[in-house]
């Protein structure tokens, strides 16, 4: 995988005890962008092995495979790297017109964990991160970079960002975590 060489992989911004904030690059995953008529979403879910969410922002996770709805006819699918080919083959057999694009090399995942996670993200995201329901996700803007933000748990967020923007996002998170650690 191309991402095996990404400079962020394996990196961590460890907050100190008081800040209780940890930011690390997520392990590489397979990513697909799926466009399909919402009326056919059920058969697409059958091909993916996980039912697709039916509401924008909805997130369904099942056995390591995650489906997130970004738009009326747009989903992003995440799965372990090893299952990438199997998913592509399953969708190739799907009869309904659709488009499945492998975007695995386009993006980098960043995990933001800890009690101060929402505070850290709030520094560069304009909407109310605290009010975001657990188990939902959306596309938004982090500073100037487009990201997909997923709230996996109350204190755990996942950022999916284009690899060319990843350094920028990482640098900002580094600065913010320093401020939080110092209690500024």
């Amino acid at each position: 995988m191309l991402l095996a060489n990404h400079p962020l992989l394996g990196k961590t911004i460890a907050g100190d005890k008081t800040s209780s904030l940890t930011i690390r690059a997520a392990e590489d995953v397979a990513r697909f962008s799926l466009r399909i008529d919402p009326a056919s979403a059920q058969s697409a879910g059958a091909a993916f092995g996980t039912p697709l969410p039916t509401r924008i922002g909805g997130l369904v996770e099942n056995g390591g495979r995650t489906a997130l709805q970004l738009g009326p006819d747009e989903w992003v699918l995440l799965a372990p790297v090893a299952e990438s080919d199997a998913i592509a083959e399953a969708f190739a057999a799907l009869q309904e017109p659709h488009s499945l694009v492998d975007i695995g090399h386009r993006e980098v995942g960043i995990l933001v964990e800890g009690e101060a996670a929402a505070l850290a993200l709030r520094s560069a995201i304009a909407f109310d991160v605290e009010a975001m329901p657990v188990g939902s996700g959306c596309r938004t803007i982090f500073d100037k970079a487009q990201i997909v933000l997923i709230r996996e748990d109350n204190n755990r967020f996942r950022i999916e960002v284009w690899r060319s923007f990843a350094d920028h996002v990482w640098g900002l998170l580094q600065a913010v975590s320093r401020e939080i650690a110092l209690g500024i």
């Binding site: 924008i56 970004l70 304009a126 596309r139 487009q146």
Partner: protein
């Protein structure tokens, strides 16, 4: 920063995620070749540019990616309502109703 309600996401999102896309409800002529030059110019370039209530298109570019329509006051910059693309122009009563319900939700 403005909060704009996306009718597809059904959520209030920051202005940063949106791009403006001009006046709404401008139908492309069914038979462009039958138009005179002046009529074609009017279709392409002449806009109402009102002071006050304005029907306009927006795109939730960094969200769901959809175009939708909005009713905004060009003086106060307040959004009265937003509605899906393709929906008819809302009546005055609908706009007043939507604007008052927004006020109740966010006093």
């Amino acid at each position: 920063m403005l909060l704009i309600r996306c009718p597809y996401c059904e959520a209030e999102r920051p202005e940063l995620e949106f791009t403006y896309a001009g006046e709404a409800h401008i139908a492309r002529p069914a038979d462009p070749s039958a138009l005179s030059d002046d009529e074609w110019r009017d279709f392409l370039f002449i806009r109402t540019n009102p002071r006050g209530r304005h029907f306009e298109r927006w795109r939730h570019m960094h969200g769901c990616g959809r175009f939708f329509n909005a009713v905004r006051d060009t003086v106060t910059d307040k959004f009265a309502m937003t509605y899906k693309a393709g929906a008819p122009r809302p009546s005055d009563e609908e706009i007043a109703l939507a604007a008052s319900s927004v006020k109740e939700a966010r006093p």
